[in-house]
């Protein structure tokens, strides 16, 4: 069937990029693609998180499962996660999830000997693998505190002790939020704001100022020199319609025309620290590709099973 090709080549422009934060534009594509990307970033990019805890000694005030839950939620650096195996389909250890290909072992030993309370933090977790360690927030935040503190797990009083062995495994955010590498992933449609200059010129100075003030976010500004209203930050607009309502109240409907561009999105990605925000995006695209391949090949089920294993079965609703 010959026909017009609807293929588009989305463009990405990175605006701001830090280890744990990224802002980028995604253009020439649909909400479905943008949302798929968002969903995959939240729920399907694999990371490593503590999944099994064996407690040897716990005389702290928190009970075992409480501590286990807290341990699970500690983000671990997971750059290796994409290439790691899920413990459930690891051949090396028959799925008991205790081999080097699918798991990382942690040890924690802490005992308080002084009268001061001892903070047991993620820094006390000793990893068997230097590539998978609790995320270090101290330098990325840029704060130069004298003590580099990790995430507090529990506080110990004199004589209390915590000793445990933990096994971290690969997983995805769909199974448990602890495996989600994303703190926030969100996007907005890029607004296209056009001020009707003719109508605007009919407003008095005070009216212009009042109109600018009516937006809860600073989208417009009044330039005192040219006595004109200018759009300073269109992306600050939250589609709240306040300025449109204000214009109508002033008897000037159509003063401003705001439409959401349906093919460009502004993404904000914040990472938990498990992977860098930029890597998170790349991993998400990779996962998305795998999923699409699985759909494409789903007719040939046997082949798909060989090639995509779990994912192939998952895509067919298995």
């Amino acid at each position: 069937m010959e026909g017009k090709s609807y293929q588009r080549v989305p463009r990405v422009k990175i605006r701001e990029m830090r280890d744990d934060y990224m802002k980028f534009e995604l253009r020439d594509t649909d909400a479905s693609v943008a949302n798929a990307l968002r969903r995959v970033m939240i729920a399907e990019v694999p990371t490593v998180a503590i999944d099994l805890v064996e407690i040897e000694i716990n005389s702290s005030v928190l009970n075992d499962e409480f501590i286990a839950h807290r341990l699970g939620l500690i983000p671990l650096t997971s750059d290796r996660a994409m290439s790691m195996r899920f413990s459930r389909d690891c051949d090396a250890c028959d799925g008991d999830g205790q081999c080097e290909f699918c798991s990382v072992e942690f040890h924690l030993r802490a005992k308080c000997h002084s009268d001061q309370t001892l903070d047991v933090t993620s820094k006390d977790l000793l990893s068997s693998d230097h590539t998978v360690v609790p995320v270090d927030f101290s330098d990325s935040a840029g704060m130069e505190s004298s003590e580099q503190k990790g995430i507090i797990i529990v506080k110990l009083r004199r004589g209390q002790e915590l000793r445990l062995r933990a096994i971290a495994r690969k997983g995805i955010g769909k199974d448990h939020a602890k495996w989600s590498p994303a703190a926030t992933v969100t996007f907005m449609y890029e607004p296209d704001i056009r001020i009707n200059e003719e109508l605007m010129d009919m407003l008095t100075l005070d009216e212009k100022k009042a109109w600018v003030e009516s937006s809860p976010t600073k989208v417009f500004d009044f330039d005192p020199k040219t006595e004109k209203v200018v759009v300073v930050d269109p992306e600050a607009y939250t589609y709240d319609d306040e300025v449109i309502k204000k214009a109508e109240a002033m008897g000037k409907p159509g003063l401003v025309d705001i439409i959401a561009k349906e093919d460009s999105f502004i993404f904000t990605v914040e990472s938990t620290g498990a992977v860098k925000a930029s890597q998170l995006l790349l991993n998400a695209i990779e996962v998305l590709k795998q999923k699409l391949d699985a759909v494409r090949l789903s007719e040939d089920t046997v082949e798909a099973d060989d090639q995509f294993g779990e994912l192939g079965a998952h895509m067919r609703g298995g």
Binding site: A31, S32, A34, N35, A36, R38, R39, I42, A43, N63, D64, E65, F66, H69, L73, G173, K174, H176, A177, K178, S180, T184, V185, T186, F187, M188, Y189, P216, T217, A236, T238, Y239, D240, E242, A260, T268, E270
Partner: protein, 435 residues
Amino acid sequence: MDSLLYLLVYPQRPLLTTKTIELVGYDKLGAGQNATVAVMSYSGYDIEDAIVMNKASLDRGFGRCIHMKRYCAVNQKYDNNTQDRILRPNRDGTDSGPMRVLDDDGLAAPGEIIRRNDILINKQVPVVTRGQFKSALNDSEFKSVPQRYDGPQGESCVVDKVALCSDKHNNLCFKFLIRHTRRPEVGDKFSSRHGQKGVCGTIVQQEDFPFSERGICPDLIMNPHGFPSRMTVGKMIELLGGKAGVSCGRFHYGSAFGEPGGHADKVEAISETLVRMGFSYDGKDFIYSGITGCPLQAYIFMGPIYYQKLKHMVLDKMHARGSGPRVSLTRQPTEGKARNGGLRVGEMERDCLIAYGASMLLYERLMISSDPFEVQVCRVCGLLGYYNHKLKTGICSSCKNGDNISTMKLPYACKLLIQELQSMNIVPRLKLAEA
């Protein structure tokens, strides 16, 4: 005494309080969590006050609670100078499975994971507890009465504490505190502080949840139909005040009326704060659907509301039964979860079945599955007879013969009624027709 204790795993201080709450110190009790609530309809699993919860929030500890229950056992002393005894568990006997949580002293050990029907205490009671004084008893004079843990099926609980004490009769008393950490599940009950209670209707993945362009994703979704008839304006003010509170970093007061000179934050002031922090003055946000990525049609009233987990949890109420115990008087199935009772097909359910014409189903539910009973009825006098096993015939005791006896089935409760009426000098007679 209370045998139950519920603890919240991550309690929070409410973002919005009143002066009264502070005076009473109620804000220091930590009875709930500040949940980001979106007031909107979602999926239809939120009808009739049900709430939709975010799975990621639950994973991160929202609504998680510790349920502690105390179990008691007494080492009873008896009149004949005998007393119960606690035995060291037999580790390779028939009961070694349920006895695995026991320590060498015959009591469940703290820290052990305990499941339903595991033995808490390996107790034995003397067979003879009355009469003349006895000194040393041998093993055959004891019978084993282990106390079993009757917690929820399929859940693993933990023995938190074991305490020994003496009760008011100076008997040795054992107390076991069993701990169970629960995450919210469908059917658990939650409430805001305005009496707006509701059960969790469904749990939805975070990526399916609506989100704002700031990245705010609600913890739970509440249906707006809860508002008009209840008129809980306070809840809306709490949402506004809470939203202003989190965005500007100051705890707000939501005292009633907000009279001049009072300390309450008035809605106007709150709205100003909201606008200053870049929100809409009315607390509504522009929200995208998490499923499609498209903006929602309406602005959504969204912000933090203090939510409390109520103690009514499905795990404690969930119950089903196939066959099981019956009441000896009526021979009908017992009632209630504690007695492993059946679920009653009541009057209204019965009416439905009649209206539908499902006679066989009705017969099965009301008779076969309940209290069927075979009786001998005399076709002459219409009274109930009996079955003589020697002669292998039914005999009517009032006609004194077995000539006109029919065998039929009726509910035991019906036979009971007939006999009770007879005892009150009323004679119900059955007239039989060919079926």
